[in-house]
Amino acid sequence: MFSFFFLFSEKISLERIDWISNFIENFLKINEDESKLVTIFLTGEGIYNLIDDRYQIFWDKIFSNMHVICYLDSFEMQVMGIEVDNLLKKYEFNFIFTDKEDKTGFWTAVIYSLNTAVNEPLFGVIQFEGPYMHRNSVYAVNALEAAINNGLKPELYSYLDGVHLGHAVQKPSEFLNIGEKLIMLGESARDKDIDFLMLACARCGKARGYMRDEQPEELYASNDIIPSFFQCNLNKIIDKFEQNHLIIAPSFACIQDNFPKEIGHQTAPPILIFISRPPYSSEWTFGGLSFAMACANHDIMTKVVFIEDGIYSLIGYHHIVDDEKIFNMQELIDGISDLEYLELYAYLPSLEIRNHSISNFLDGIKLIKINELQEIIEHLIKNSHSFHARIMFF
């Protein structure tokens, strides 16, 4: 039995809900004899996706199938003033509402739903965005708290702006103090004799001024960072991705095989990375490709799909002069295309609706449509000895 999970804590684009609705429809239609289930978790601004009229046609397609269930974060719905009744009128049988009095209730539901098949004592959260600008930093600590409450060992992996979570001496006046909360969670975990590991990418930390001197040890601590929040080589974080535990992100997906062919012979869960943003205006694309390269270098089967605005990395001929001090994304893509454990794809509909095509010299990228995307994702799990495959959005 295959289960597919999506979690969104942000408003997604019409383009994304469109391909996701097609994906879910195909996923449930193909091999109907196989028992399949799709679970969607919506929290924060992800809930707005449900109440936007422009999205209804896609939700109708998704929820017309009884094998789709949707967990809604009732605590966050209260914050945003979204009424339950309006939603129930239409999709009553598809919805599960978490406890509106418990801010970690939604995350407990996520843990229970996802960890049933995986059944690992560890639970990881990877965070790409910093506190205060982004409320998903609050969701990250809520998820870690839910893990501790449920007796799991929480691990926080901070990447890109996520490294700011560990900044020392945070003093927000009207926002949950993320640094203090992480320290409190560490104490709470210790009281329960549970280890709490926090790792941050040293490349991202160094760029943001957290590493004033050379890094003599594998785990780097300083007065600029809260205690037990360690900067380390990205490879140290990727070591964690070689293990089989769940690792969630503010927006992520996961496919699980509830009855894998061979139990006890597990390999590192394969990973699919969606590159969905333009190449140079933010660190997302560089961060996603660096992460993919690091996974592939650890012999983790890694597939990268350029989709939505991510296709802008593949068009034209990028010319970057040395003074710019940025990597040419096309050179980077071409450079990593020969990695043994890495496959590169571009989602053709994203190119077509923008009226673009891939530059000829990027010949290591295969064009795919929704059916092939479906196959790639299912093969991730079918061709591996893992209970699940991870899917991340950059």
Partner: protein, 74 residues
């Protein structure tokens, strides 16, 4: 004739060095090589990916935390 100065990449993060090397080596032709200085951690990081199939890698320690590295395309 002046010998070309060997680039010193010790200030680069391991990830950025790996990317730089992937870009450089992808453009190399057979038997061509690239040489540079790295730290011990950088050298440890690139050993595995550049010891596979198409490349051979050589590293000599020159200082306490400095290696002279040569990657050759086979």
């Amino acid at each position: 004739m002046d010998r070309v100065k060997i680039p010193d990449y010790t200030e680069l993060t391991c990830t950025n060095l790996m990317i730089k090397l992937k870009i450089i080596t992808k453009k190399m032709i057979q038997a061509e090589q690239v040489e540079f200085y790295s730290t011990r951690e950088q050298f440890d990081n690139i050993k595995k990916p550049f010891s596979k199939n198409h490349y051979s890698l050589l590293g000599n320690k020159t200082e306490e935390n400095k290696y002279h590295v040569i990657i050759k395309k086979n």
